[in-house]
Subunit: 526 residues, 3 copies
C-alpha cells in the first residue's frame, strides 16, 4: 500500500478508487482493488455483491425481529416484595332484605300500585323482566331494600384486632346483588397464617316464611339467584369489585378458609404490548369495568336510556331503560287487550344482544389492562361450622357483641337459652334429665337457623412469598446494532470505521472530480 | 503486497502460499506470511494454532446448543383470541338406575341366574370383582341399567336459551360411571358472566329404600362409589372425556358455580419437542386415551380378552375378561369344593399389575400430546340451593317443564302441593294456622328429597381474556451461523470472504503444482 | 508493508510504532500509521478515540448485564419424570379428644387445681390465653389429650393395598392441632386415577354432649377452631408439614376428591439466585420452618422462654412462656386484688408483635428455599357421602375391620343394627311394615353421627405428566466474551490476535527503549 505515486499526480478517478480501495479494510474491496488479473477482479466483484445481498437480507430479518418488540416473562419468587392485603367484597346472593321489603311496601302506596299494574298489564314476554329486582331498582332508585351491613357481618377480626363498618365501603350493583360491602385492610402484607388474616362471621339474613303458603317465584332463566349464601370476591385494592364475574360462594353452616398467595404481574406498555401506566384512573384500570362503561355509552347513544347492570354513565339525567314512565297517566293503554311494546326495553334488549354476539365494538373502547397488576391465588376449603358443642356460646357472644344485634341471632339465642335454662336448673338440683320432644323441636329449629344462616369466612396469606411475573424486552436497540454489526463483519469484513473509510473515499473522489473540472475549465479558458 | 514478481515466474509452492498469505485478511495468517524473522513466525504460528483450537471448541459448543433445540415459553393475555365453550361431561357417581335395575331383573331370568351362580360359586377373592358393576356390564353388554338423560338433567339453559338432549352426546364408561352425557356448546366464547354461560339443574335420581332392611353392600376397596352426586368434567371439545381421571364432584343440595378462564398452549413438534400436529385423530389427541388403547392392545395380546375399563379395541369380536362363558354348561365345576381359577380374570389382573408398576411399555405406544391444546382453569364454589322459600315454585316449574318429568320431582312436588293446598285454603278464609306435626313430617320428607337429589351447576367464563402460552425456538439456524461467524472473526479475524480467499489459495496452489509437474515431465521427455 | 529498512537501522521509537502500527489489523490504527497527511492522521486519531470510548461503554453495559446473572424459566411437560407420591398430613380441627380429657382430668388433681387457679386468678386480659389449648400443653407437656390415630383414621387403602399406622408418622403441633399424622407412600408415582391413589375413611371423633347444658366456650378471636372436620395438607415428602399455613379442610359427611398434578421447580443457587442445594438439612428446606426457628431463637434470647407455636429450639431445658411456674408456692400473690403481670407472657406478646410488624429480622436468618422443589397442584371437589343406602354396610365393615374400633362407629352401628334386626325379622315372615316413630328417631340419631363424623378422602394423581419449571442462565461467560469480542470488532476491527499484536508492539518498544538507553549509556561511558 505504500504507493510512491502521490494522489496529486493521478488524474483518473478510477485510480483514486483503486488506491483507497486497496487500503480498505472491507475485505472484498481491497481484494478487488489489488487484483492484478481481470478474471480475478470479476470473481471478487461477484463475491462482494453476493455477500452484500446476503448481508442485506440478514439485516432486514434482524430489523424485522426488532420491530415485533419481543418480550420474555421472568418469574421470580420473592420474600422481600410487599403486597397489600386484598380487598374483599361481600354480597348476599339474595339481593333483598325481606324485613326491609315488608317495611317499605307497607309504607309506600306507589310501589304497591306499580306491582299491581305490572301484574295486570299486557306486556307479553317482558313481564318477567318487569318483575325482576333490576326493574324494581330502576323504577324506585331511591328506595333501599338491600341488606344492611349489620345484617351481613356479625363479627369482624383483622390481624388480631376488631374491625367494623368503618373498614368497609358500600359497592352498589343494580342487577344481581344490590348492596355489597368491600373490606380494605389498608395494610401491607404481614405474617402468614390464619391468625394474622381476616376472620368474619357472616349471616345470610334468611328467615323461613312464618306463614305457610307464602312462597317465592323461581325463575329458571336466572342462574345466579335462589341460593342461600354470600358471594365473595377477592381482588386487588386498586381495582373495582366485579362480583358478578369473578368471585366464589360462601355456603351457610360452614367455615370457609381462603388461603392466598400473591402474584405481581408487570407488563410492558407500547410498543411492547398494550397496557396503561396511568395510576389515577382507577376505574379504567379494570378492563371489564371500562368495557362496560363503553357498552353503557353505546346503549345511551342508541336507546337514550341507561341500565343499572352497567356502571353509571357520566350524565345522570338519563332515565333507566326499565323505568315505566307514563303508566300512571295512561293506564288504559297498558291494560288494553293489545300487547304494548315498551320501546326502550325492546331497544335495550336488541342492543345488548348485538353487543353480546359481536365484540367488535371493543376495538373502539380503548380499554387497556394496567401495566402492573396484583392478583391473589385462592385455595378454598370448608369445614362444618359451628360445632354443636359451641353453638350456644357463639350465639351468646354474638348477641352481646353487636349493638344492633341481628334479629336472627336474637331469635336463635332466645330459643336455645330458654330451653337450656330449664335444664341447667334441673342439673343444679342434681336431677338427671333428657330433653323432651317439644324442647328437641325447639332446639332443632334454633339449630336450623344457625346452619342455614351463619358462616365463617377466614381470608389469610398462606405464603408470604410473592411470585413476580415480569415481562422484559429480549431484543434491545443495542442488541440490534450489535447484530447488524456482526452481519456486516461476517459477510463483508465491515466494521464501523469502514463506514468512515467509505465516507472518506467518497469525499476524496468528489473533491478530485471538482478539481479536475476546474482544471478543464481553466485549460478551456486559458 | 503490490509484489512486482509475477506468479508465473515463481517456481516454489512455498512462495505462492507466502504471497497469497500476506494478502490474506485472516489476521494471523498475514502476520505469519509477512514475518521477517523465524522466531516471530513461530510465535505467530503457535498463536494461530491456539486460536484455531479455541475457535473450534467454541463452534462445537454453539452447535451443541443448537441441536438441543432450545425453546422458551412466551405468555400473553389476549382479549382477541376466541376460544370455544368447553365440553361438559356429566356422570352420576352411582352408575346404575335403581328403577331400571328393578325393571330389568324382574324380566330377565338369565341375569338372576348368573347372580345366584356368582353368589354360590367358589371363586375365592375374585367374587368381589364378579359382583361389581363392571362384571355386570361385561356379561350383559346389551342390557342398559345406566341413568337416562331425563333422569340426570332436569333443566338446561345455555347463553340465555333453552338446551336439551340434542346438545348432549352419550359417553359410555364400562367400569365406574356407565352412562355419561357430554354437552357441547358449538359456539365460540361470548360474554363473560353467569348469565351468558351454561346453567343446569341436575338430579342424582336417588331414592331412599322404601322397604326397611334392603341395604346395599359397601365395598371398602372401591374409593369412587357410594357417594351421592354428579361427577363433572370440563375439557376441550377436541379431546374425549376422561371423567375417571380429571373432573370434580357436584354435591346435591348446592348450587355449584364454575368460573372458567381459558388458556391456549402451543408447543413445537419435532425436533423441538414431542407433539402431534395431526388434526384428524381425535382420540389420539388425548394422551391418556392413547395410552389406554395401548394397554388394551397389550391385554388382548397377552390374555386374549379385553376390559371395559379401557377404550374399545378395534376388533370387537374379542370377549370381555370378566365374561363367565361356560358357567351354564358346567355348573358342577364352579360349585365344587375346590376353588376355581378363572384364567382370563387371573391373566388380566396380572397384566394390569405389571402395567401399573412398570410404565416402560409407554415408550412403544407413540402417544403424543397435540401441539395446540386449550385448557380451562376452573374456580369452583358452592352455595346452599334451593332456598326453602323457592322450593315449591322450583318443583312446580320442573314438573311442568319436563315432558317425562322425573319420578322424584313428581313425588316431591305432590307431597309439597297436597300440604300447601290445605293451608292456602285456610289462608283464603282468613284463618291463621301453623303446620301440624304430620304435615311437618311430610314437608321434611319433601325437603329431604330435594336436598339429597337436586343440584344446580353453573359453568361460565369469568374472564374473556385468554392466556396464550406459546413455545418459540430461541436459537435459530440464522443465530447459529451468526454465532459461528462471530467466533471465527473473534479468534481468527475470519470473515465469510476469507473462506473464498482460502479456497482461491488452494486452487492456485493445485494449478501451480499441476503445471510444475507438466514442466518436469516436458523436460524429462525433452 | 514489505518495508526494506530494518528495525535495527531505526533509532526513533516513533518509527517503530509507525511500522508496527501500519502492520496492525486494528483498522483505525493502521490508517493512522499509514496516513500520509497530518490532517488525515488527526481525523483518524479522533475517530479511533471515539470508537474506543463507544466500545468501552458497550463493554461496560454487557458486563453489567452479565453480573445481574439473568435467568429464564423453561417450562416442559414430561411423562418420563418420576415424582414421589406426596406426604399427606391430617389434623383434627378440634385438637383435643373429649374422651381423653375426661380420663385425664378425673385422674390428675394437678390439672384440676391449675384450672381452678386460672379461673380465680386476677390476671386481666391474659386469662383467655391461659385457658387456651396451648397453655394446657405448655403447663403439662407430658399429658397427651390429642386424638389418637385409631380415632382419626378408620380405614386406609393405598394403591390397591391396605395401609395402617405403620405408614403414618406423628407430627405434633403445640398450638392449634396437637396430634397430626403424616402419611408417606414411599413410592414413586404410579398410574393415574382414583383407583391407584390413597383412599381414607376418617372420623372427627366428635360426640354431641350427652348431658344438656354442658357447652363449650366459643372464643371469637380464634379463627381456626370450633369447626368439625379434618385439616389436611399435601406437601412434598422432603419438607416438614405446616398445616397451620397451607392445607385444606375436609368437612364431615362428604367424600373429598383431591386430584393432583405434580410440578418440579428447579432454581439456580448463588450467584443466579438464593437457594440452598444441601440435602441433609430437611428442616432448613422449608423456609417457613427455618424462619420460625429463627423467631424462636429471638424469643429465647429476649424473654428466656420458648413457645410451642414455633419449632423446638435446640436446648430443651428452656421453659415454655405460658408455663405458670410458681402459682402453687405463692397463690396469695395471684389471687390478690391487684392484677398480676406474668412477665414471660407479657414479654412474649411484645416480641411476637414486633416480629409480626417488622420482618427485618428475616435478613439475619439465612433461610433459603431448596433449589429443587416438588409441588402438587390440587383440584378439590366434594360429593355427599355415604349414600344412605350403603350406611349400614359401611358401619358393619368398619366395626369389623378395626381392632380397636372407634366408639362412634360402634354406637352408630349398634343403633342401626338393633332397629334393622327387628324389621328383617318381620320381613322374613313376610309382614310389610314401616318404621315407627321411635325407630325413626333412632335412625335419625345414627344418621346424624355418621354425617357429622365420618368423611372419605381420596388423594390421587389426575395426570401423570409432571410440569418441570427449570431456571437456566441466559447469559453465560462464553456469551459475555463473544459479545465483548463483537463490540471490539464492530468498533475497532479488533480481534483476539490483535491483542497479541499490541502486546508484541509494546514489547518491541520496551526492548528498543532499553537498548537505546544502553547505547546512550555506552556512548557516555565510552
Amino acid at each position: 500500500m505504500e504507493n510512491r505515486i502521490g494522489l496529486e499526480g493521478q488524474s483518473s478517478s478510477c485510480k483514486i478508487v483503486k488506491i483507497l480501495g486497496s487500503q480498505s479494510n472491507v475485505h472484498g474491496v481491497s481484494k478487488i482493488a489489488k487484483a492484478r488479473s481481470t478474471p480475478r477482479r470479476i470473481f471478487w466483484i461477484i463475491l462482494v455483491v453476493l455477500a452484500f445481498i446476503t448481508a442485506t437480507f440478514q439485516i432486514v430479518s434482524v430489523v424485522k425481529k426488532y420491530v415485533t418488540y419481543p418480550v420474555v416473562e421472568v418469574v421470580n419468587k420473592s420474600r422481600k416484595t410487599q403486597v397489600a392485603f386484598p380487598a374483599l367484597t361481600l354480597c348476599n346472593t339474595n339481593p333483598t332484605s325481606m324485613m326491609k321489603i315488608n317495611q317499605v311496601i307497607l309504607n309506600n302506596t306507589d310501589i304497591l300500585a306499580l306491582f299491581q299494574f305490572i301484574q295486570t298489564a299486557n306486556v307479553g314476554e317482558i313481564k318477567t323482566k318487569l318483575q325482576s329486582h333490576q326493574a324494581f331498582y330502576e323504577n324506585f332508585p331511591m328506595v333501599d331494600i338491600g341488606h344492611s351491613f349489620d345484617d351481613l357481618v356479625l363479627s369482624c377480626r383483622f390481624n388480631n384486632a376488631d374491625c367494623g363498618i368503618q373498614n368497609f365501603s358500600r359497592h352498589f350493583d343494580g342487577t344481581t346483588y344490590f348492596n355489597c360491602f368491600t373490606f380494605t385492610g389498608n395494610t401491607n402484607q404481614m405474617q402468614a397464617g390464619i391468625d394474622h388474616g381476616l376472620s368474619l362471621i357472616l349471616s345470610t339474613g334468611d328467615r323461613s316464611p312464618q306463614q305457610p303458603g307464602s312462597y317465592g317465584i323461581y325463575d329458571i332463566t336466572n342462574p345466579s339467584s335462589y341460593g342461600l349464601g354470600i358471594r365473595a370476591q377477592i381482588n386487588s385494592p386498586d381495582t373495582p369489585p366485579t362480583p358478578i364475574y369473578q368471585g366464589f360462594g360462601v355456603p351457610p353452616g360452614y367455615s370457609l378458609n381462603v388461603g392466598l398467595t400473591a402474584s405481581l404481574h408487570t407488563t410492558l406498555p407500547f410498543p411492547y404490548g398494550e397496557c396503561s401506566t396511568s395510576k389515577n384512573q382507577t376505574d379504567k384500570n379494570a378492563v371489564i369495568i371500562c368495557l362496560q362503561q363503553c357498552q353503557q355509552d353505546i346503549l345511551i347513544k342508541k336507546c337514550g336510556c341507561k341500565t343499572s347492570a352497567l356502571p353509571d354513565a357520566h350524565n345522570s339525567n338519563i332515565p333507566f331503560c326499565l323505568n315505566i314512565k307514563n303508566w300512571r297517566s295512561q293506564p288504559d293503554l297498558f291494560q288494553g287487550k293489545d300487547e304494548v311494546h315498551l320501546e326502550m326495553i325492546e331497544c335495550k334488549r336488541q342492543v345488548m344482544k348485538e353487543i353480546t354476539n359481536d365484540r367488535s365494538y371493543e376495538d373502539h373502547c380503548e380499554c387497556y389492562e394496567p401495566c402492573m397488576e396484583t392478583s391473589y391465588d385462592q385455595s378454598i376449603s370448608m369445614s362444618y361450622w359451628p360445632e354443636e358443642f359451641y353453638q350456644f356460646s357463639l350465639l351468646e357472644t354474638l348477641s352481646m357483641k353487636a349493638k344492633h344485634s341481628s334479629e336472627l341471632v336474637k331469635e336463635a339465642f332466645d330459643t336455645l337459652n330458654s330451653t337450656l335454662q330449664k335444664y341447667t336448673d334441673y342439673l343444679s338440683q342434681g336431677i338427671e334429665v333428657e330433653y323432651d320432644i317439644n324442647d328437641q323441636i325447639k332446639l332443632a329449629r334454633a339449630s336450623k337457623i344457625i346452619r342455614q344462616n351463619f358462616m365463617r369466612l377466614n381470608v389469610y396469606f398462606q405464603d408470604l412469598r410473592v411470585t413476580e411475573y415480569t415481562k422484559i424486552p429480549t431484543y434491545s436497540m443495542a442488541s440490534l446494532l450489535s447484530d447488524i454489526g456482526s452481519v456486516m463483519i461476517l459477510w463483508l469484513g465491515f466494521s464501523m470505521l469502514s463506514f468512515i473509510e467509505m465516507f472518506e473515499l467518497i469525499m476524496v473522489l468528489i473533491m478530485h472530480l471538482f478539481r479536475s473540472h476546474l482544471y478543464i475549465l481553466g485549460n478551456k479558458s486559458g
